[in-house]
Structure formats: C-alpha cells, structure tokens
C-alpha cells in the first residue's frame, strides 16, 4: 500500500473546512451493459469529508448515490480514481483485501431498511458483536460483552432486548440495532444510507435526534444519504447534489436551501411538498433523466430536461466552478 501525499492537487473546490478525513478524487464507476456500452454510474466525482463533519448527499434514484456509497465504503472497486482516508489511498487495494485491513473498521455503513439488513437468525447481541469480532479481532468474551453493551447503551437500546431476534423488535428498535452495530467498532466515518426512510415520522424524529446526539458525543463524520431534503438539512452542514453520476452542486446547507444555483437543485427544492405553497402552480421538472449508458462526454447531463438549456449545454460539459463561500456549481448559467 502506498502512502500518498495527503493533498496532492491542492484544495479542491468545495473542500471541507478543518482537517480532511476522507477525500475522493476523480472517482468513477462504470459497468459494462449487455448489448455493449458502458453505464456511467459515478463519473469523476471529487468529494471531501472533514473530520467531524456531516455531509448530505442528495439526488434522484438512479443518480449514483448508492454506487458512490458502495465505493466510499469500499464495498465495490472503482473503475478509476482515488479515495484517501487520512491521506492513504484505500482505493488502491482491492475490496476483498480491504476487508481484512484495519481501516475497514474506520468506515461503517448504516443501511437503508433495518428489517432487511439485519441477519434474521442473529440475536441483537450477535448482530452488534459480529463487526467487533471480524474487524477488530476482539475475542475476549468479557470485553466483547462490554463493547456490545456500550454500543447498545449509546443508541438507547434497553439491555433486555439484547437477546432478542430482529422479528421481535419494533421498526425503531431495529433501526437502533443497525446504528449500534455500525458504531460499535468506533468508526471515523459513518455512512447513513436513507437511515429513516422505512420509519414513521414519530420514530424518525427519535432516530434523527439520536444521530445528532451521537455525532456530538463521538465526533464521527457522517455521510448522510437521503431523498428527503427536509431531513438532510436537519443534520448536515454541507450538501452535495448529484445528477446522473456527477456532482452538480455542493454548498453549505443554508446556502443551498436559500440560494441554490443549479437548475436541478432548484427543481429538487421546489418539489418538496409545502403546505405554505398550496394551490400555487409551480414549474415542474418533467421527463426522465437521459440514459446513463455512454453519455455524451461533451454535453451537460441535465441538458434536455433543464429549463435553461441552450446549444452550448449540448456541446460543452459545465465544470464545477466556485460560486461563493464553499459553494461550487456545474452550470453555464449559475
């Protein structure tokens, strides 16, 4: 494994403030599709996550959020690009080898639906202990029990539930188990993939408060993936917007919500249901995204669906350019 220069290209646009924990450089993932062609799931993404920072990742289904999560969590090998964790390129080793490395424990994921992602044959104890055994090599039973108990306590899971199976738990309790097993190895980065989308609002509120509290107490960084912008803004200080495999805008949360520059971000924000806008006729983003298979490298991915699109957008791919404090946007007209 090579030790890379912590910041070889200088500060990238949209760089996190403070110490950088994780940095993706020109990260791409392409899949061969049947019938020829390459599907560009993630296309040359640059992204930084600061130590203790909470970054939100939003975009429509099919925009490459989940693939990006799989790449950053090192559950898949990127086609090209680098992922620096504390300056070390962790994308240089294969996913299979990474699974055995000590850094594996430093990036953990809370998956979408806790009912689906917990092993139904594992009691809560086993679910939480499993990553401790595998990633930290913890074998001492007393220490293991201690660590599991502590993780359960941190997420507010009553001790009497530790011997239960997932089907004996409520949705909120399962969500807590999913979080407990992810934080048990004390990761530096917690990736939350739609952690509350399967939950009712009253339970969602509890889990969001828990996540905010855990971050404050443990100082982890979060990458929070969600389709619900109202939820993202509650926890995240910086937000990344993806469209068809590319980052189209990145900004501090407040700047994004009050002054989004990219037409896609504007459409996304405008589509949030808001009782205050009852009966208003709002412009809607119609149609569907272009095909992600062999997209024209010289055209803006949003062209064709964009209300502002012109000839130039079809012939010149806009690059991410600064648009204010920590704010970058990829649009010719922003």
């Amino acid at each position: 494994m090579d030790i890379a220069d912590p910041n070889p290209f200088g500060a990238l646009p949209g760089t996190a403030v403070g110490v950088t924990l994780l940095e993706a450089q020109a990260l791409s993932m392409r899949y061969k599709v049947a019938g020829g062609g390459m599907l560009h799931a993630v296309d040359s993404v640059d992204l930084t996550i600061g130590s203790g920072e909470c970054v939100g990742l939003v975009g429509e289904s099919g925009c490459g959020k989940s693939t990006l999560v799989r790449l950053l969590a090192r559950l898949a090998d990127p086609t090209s690009g680098r992922i620096l964790l504390d300056g070390q390129d962790i994308a240089a080793v294969s996913q299979a080898r990474f699974a055995g490395m000590p850094q594996r424990a430093r990036i953990q994921v809370v998956f979408q639906d806790p009912s689906e992602s917990l092993n139904p044959a594992f009691r809560v104890f086993q679910s939480i202990a499993d990553p401790l055994r595998r990633l930290l090599g913890l074998k001492d039973q007393t220490k293991l029990i201690e660590r599991v108990r502590r993780a359960a306590e941190l997420v507010g899971l009553p001790p009497e539930l530790i011997e239960r199976y997932p089907h004996q738990l409520s949705g909120g309790q399962r969500a807590r188990v999913g979080i407990a097993r992810a934080i048990a190895p004390e990761p530096s980065l917690l990736i939350l993939d739609e952690p509350t989308s399967a939950l009712d609002v009253s339970v969602q509120a509890v889990i969001l408060r828990l996540l905010a509290d855990l971050q404050a107490r443990l100082g982890m960084s979060y990458l929070f993936v969600s389709h619900d912008l109202n939820v993202v803004r509650l926890l995240c200080s910086r937000i990344v917007v993806m469209y068809l495999g590319r980052v189209v805008e990145m900004a501090p949360a407040e700047a994004l919500f009050t002054g989004a520059r990219h037409p896609y971000t504007q459409a996304l924000l405008g589509a949030i249901p808001d009782p205050a806008k009852r009966g208003e006729i709002r412009s809607r983003l119609d149609g569907s995204p272009r095909s992600p298979i062999d997209p024209d490298p010289n055209a803006c991915r949003f062209h064709g669906r964009c209300p502002k699109g012109t000839e130039r957008c079809a012939t010149e791919m806009p690059r991410l350019t600064p648009a204010g404090q920590g704010h970058v946007v990829a649009c010719h007209f922003a």
Partner: protein, 322 residues
Amino acid sequence: MTAQLSVEDFSLVFRTRHGTVRALEDVSLSVERGEIVGVVGESGSGKSVLAYAVMGLQDAAARVQGGRIRFAGLDMLTASEGALAGVRGRELAMIFQSPRTALNPIRKVGRQIEDILRQHANLPGRDLRDQAIAALARVRIPDPQRRYEAYPFELSGGMCQRVMIAMALACSPFLLIADEPTTGLDVTTQAVIMDLIRDMSREARMSTLLITHDLGLAGEYCDRIAVMHAGHVVEIAPAAELLSRPAHPYTQQLLAATPTPRSTVEGLVSIPGQLPDLRHDLPPCRFSARCARHSPICDEKPLPWTSLTPTHSVRCRVPLWG
C-alpha cells in the same frame, strides 16, 4: 353539496389466530364532489384498511361490525358482488401503492388500459386503442403511441404510476382512492403526479380520497384532512386549519415530528409510546396511554365527537382549544 362518499360509524375487525384485531372503530368521514380529502396517519393506523373497505375489497378475515359506507347512493356494505363489480373501475377507481407490482408484468400497458375500457366503457372494439392512447396522453405521458406498446418493466416508477393513474381515470370515475400514490417515487416525480391528481380533480370535479403518511403532502394538496390513529379518525378539518390550529394532541405531535423547511433537530418531537395492541381491551380513547393531557374523564365511554367549528371536528375530551 352532496357527499360523493360517506362513511358513518364504520367498524371493522380482523379475526386472526392470535385474537380479534379491532382495525377500525366508529370511523366517519365524507368526501364531497370535486374535493380532495387526505387520510393521514402512521403505519398501522388503519388508513389502507379504510381505503380497501371503501372499495368493497375486504380480506377474508375481515368482519364489518357496524356502520355504513355509501357511495353515490349505493350502500357498499350490502350491495351484491355484481353491483360492486359494476361500480369498481368505472365510478370508483383506485391507485395502488407500488405501481410496478399492481400492473400486469406480461401485458403491454396499453392493453391493460383497453381491458378496463372493454369491461366498463361499452366502446366499439376499433376505438379501444385510440381511447387507451388518449388515456395515456391525458396523464401527460410523452409519446403515448409508443408507450402503449411498452411493458411495465420498460417504464420508470413514475411512468408506471402514471399508467396506473391513466387506468384509474380511463372511465372518468366519480371517486378516486389513491393509496400512497407517490411512496417510493422521487420528489420531482411525486410533484408531477400530485399536480396531475389535483388537476384531474379540478377539471372533472372528481372526488379524491388520498391516503398518505406525509402531512406536508396532504397539507399542500388536500382540501380537508382526516387524521387517523390506531383505527380511529381523531380529527378532521380543512387542511390549512388542521396544520395551523390542530386540536387533537396526536395531530399536534405528528406535526411537531414532521421535518419541515423550518424545523431543527432539537425541535423535532418524538411521540412517546407506541400504537396500542388492537387485539387487547382498549380504552375509549386509543391515544390515552401516549397522551400528556390524559385525565380521568378520558376513560369515560363513549368517546364523543366535538365540533369546534362547522368544519372542524375532534374526537378528544380535552382538545387543545375550543
């Protein structure tokens, strides 16, 4: 105005191996012509059971315990299966959750719309195709001639939902029941679909019963909102008033738990406790165990409806106002 749909004191139980689940109790609500009424509640509150009951589609384990459901003059609970079949699909239509599983995967979507028209519209066979294409065009599906030939797997989730809506609207129903029509869709697609449902209601004076867990969505699109909790309708009011002046403690807490563009994580309220087990003996107010305002008077039977204004009713002994 005459109510297109009226549900009065409707109660329904499910007989299961593990006891009788009292899924709906004394549910009352009405939908007027051209009105969009939202039914909002958390999972397990009985929203979908109510929607299916209105369609006359009950599970074999379901037993109606009392009350009436009237739709356009027809008593849905005593009508024959033949009479119900004649109404469903024509005057009464439903959009189901997860359009991809509700559509027939091995039949072209255009053909599926034709099936509905053939059953109900009494059209000459040669007109069916044109009518099906017109139905697709009405829900603003681009290039409807081509989409007619598509199978559900070839269409995106949003497109499939539009096909479902096209099917539901093909016979210009009087009442549309939309059961979480946008769950699982992207916000941008959700907005387009909901605009479409709203416009169709306005243009054709169609009534809509919108089942959703999203208070923000109901607040933007519905004329009135009914809030359900554990098989009870606990409050019903004009949408804007329900959101700004809720009277039931549960409604207030549900609102405080829903993230809005103005909420903070500290300000989000979590509702203590859980839905009660509907198989057990239940107090008259099913929210009482979770309610901070609970007092001995709440345990007196029966739990009455209180009319705070002519259009705002609440089922609570100690409402927040009034």
